[in-house]
């Protein structure tokens, strides 16, 4: 393997991890509540703008801004679930779809109205740095973002695995009737879950802001990307989201490098179709 191919793969992995974190939020929300968040990319973009504002106004590095933004997004998700989404739990998919498409439209155009159409960059002092490893050039921001993404994902894993609230959320996903039987406060747990899903998105969006520039037009592409990743990885599977992110990151990178960059998303969609047909639960998912 040539060094340059290796370079392409490494880039794919690093970017894929951040995408994976974004997809993780989608996966958590669906895995527990069966709500497909069609406004996912829009929330990601809001987080990018939040990171931009914190950086411009208070000069906070996104790697630090991650925590407050994730916290605020948790709150937004919690409230959103309690108010807007709850009546739609268990309703038909197309009804959820219209609700969230409506929400997405409001968000995108709200951003356009407030911030205008120009892309908003975060100019970190190390924006242009890269590590040289042998003949490889690896961007510093991507490395940092990937590490942060892994850390956030790990924190989420630990939460679900080792805390009682996390276990209770898994219990709701496992057997909703059972959750009612033992008296779990399902509504509250759902709100926590939506909060956590959005916190993931908040963190991912903040990291994304170091890689790409915030602009309202990104949202739909991110929603599609997140969907592709979670389906490939396994909707509802946490590891699946990260693995799917890496897989999509690397396959797009390789296809872009060896075939034609403008065709690279075609390979993600082809991958998506193949996975849906051969293993609809996704590579690491259980049949839902």
């Amino acid at each position: 393997m040539t060094a340059i191919t290796l370079n392409v793969i490494v880039q794919g992995v690093l970017t894929g991890l951040v995408y994976g974190l974004m997809a993780l939020g989608l996966s958590v929300i669906f895995g527990v509540m069966r709500v497909v968040n069609f406004a996912h990319g829009e929330f990601t973009v809001i987080a990018m703008y939040a990171a931009f504002i914190l950086f411009e106004v208070l000069h906070i590095d996104p790697l630090i801004a991650l925590l407050p933004i994730a916290a605020v997004f948790f709150g937004i998700g919690y409230l959103l679930q309690r108010t807007l989404i709850t009546p739609f739990i268990g309703r038909a998919e197309h009804e959820q779809f219209i609700l969230l498409v409506g929400l997405a439209t409001v968000i995108v155009n709200g951003i356009l109205l407030i911030f205008g159409p120009d892309a908003r960059p975060i100019n970190l002092p190390y924006s242009f740095d890269s590590y040289t490893v042998g003949s490889l050039f690896i961007d510093k921001v991507r490395v940092l973002a990937a590490i942060a993404a892994l850390a956030v994902a790990a924190a989420l894993f630990l939460f679900f695995r080792y805390t009682r609230t996390g276990t209770a959320i898994r219990a709701c996903a496992d057997n909703l009737t059972g959750a009612g039987v033992v008296g779990l406060n399902v509504k509250q747990l759902y709100a926590v879950t939506f909060g956590l899903g959005l916190a993931c998105v908040g963190a991912a969006g903040t990291l994304m802001a170091t890689i790409a520039d915030a602009s309202p037009g990104l949202a739909q592409a991110y929603t599609l990307l997140a969907f592709t990743i979670v389906i490939v990885g396994g909707l509802g599977s946490m590891v699946g989201a990260l693995v799917g992110g890496i897989l999509i990151g690397v396959s797009e990178a390789l296809a872009g490098f060896y075939i034609q960059p403008s065709m690279k998303s075609m390979f993600s969609f082809a991958l998506l179709i193949i996975v849906l047909v051969l293993r609809p639960q996704g590579l690491l998912g259980r049949r839902l």
Partner: protein, 333 residues
Amino acid sequence: MSGLWHNAGWHGKAIALLLLLAFLAAPLVSDRYLLSVLILVFYFAYLGQAWNLLMGFAGQLSLGHALYLGLGAYTATALWTLFGIGPWIGVFIAIPVAAAAGMFVGWLGWRFAIEGVYFALLTIAFAEFTRIGFDHLQITGASGGLFLSVNGPGADKWWNLGGGPLLYYYLSLILAVGATFLVARLRQSSLGYRWLAVRENPEAAQAVGINIFRARMIAMLISSSMTAVGGVFYGFYYRNLFPSQVFDISRSIELILAPIIGGLGTIFGPVVGAIILTPLGESLTGLMEAFGINAPGAKLIFYGIVLMIIISLRPDGVWPWLARHLKLDGARK
């Protein structure tokens, strides 16, 4: 439709007749702006009927109907620009092309038991895949677009769909009314009953001898064919096509709004939805201008809010509610 007609009360009949007469006579009294809005209303009502057949009747959620729209549009316009084959012939080639794509998507999905959200995502994936494919298809101009001339030989003749708004007005009206009749007819056929059974409970449907795979495939066949015709209309009405426009997911989304808002699985839902949504967008534009607001995006914010409100308050759509209030029979139809 005959059953529907008989079931409708006298005022239901009266309303239907009056509406139809009003639409037929509209060009006599209305200005061109209103006509252009009505063309969009009928166009979306038509596409809504096509989509509703698959979703509302056969219960399968497709978020990738832009695929059939785009294939229909591209096939007919490419035949016209490249080979001089007119749209009235082209449409009969566009239909099988789009239908074949639809059957493939359906076959892949339902043979492998992909349903619900997963099927929806499969349809998105195919539409996006095709969009990028057409971005690279040199014969149709790739991402640079496909253009129809307005003054080539025969380009201005009605049989080549060249002409003014009247042609397109009546064409879209015929499409919308025809689709409504067709859907009503299908609903009252054995096929329609089978679709509803499959939608309501696939397992029970199978137990009364319905081949659910075949029933869904037929729904897909008709739905994608109808959508392809809409695509031909679109291609000739706008006279230019870009993959990034016609295959885009936002096309798929905009064509499903009317049937859902109007009432899924009902015959008049897609029509009512289109009558609400398109003028809603237009009137928001008008209102903002009247108040002297130039805030790009504000209109769509309101539009999004209205969508959320309607789906929260009338999850079954506006038409069943409306029909109850107007005391029209067949509210569920």
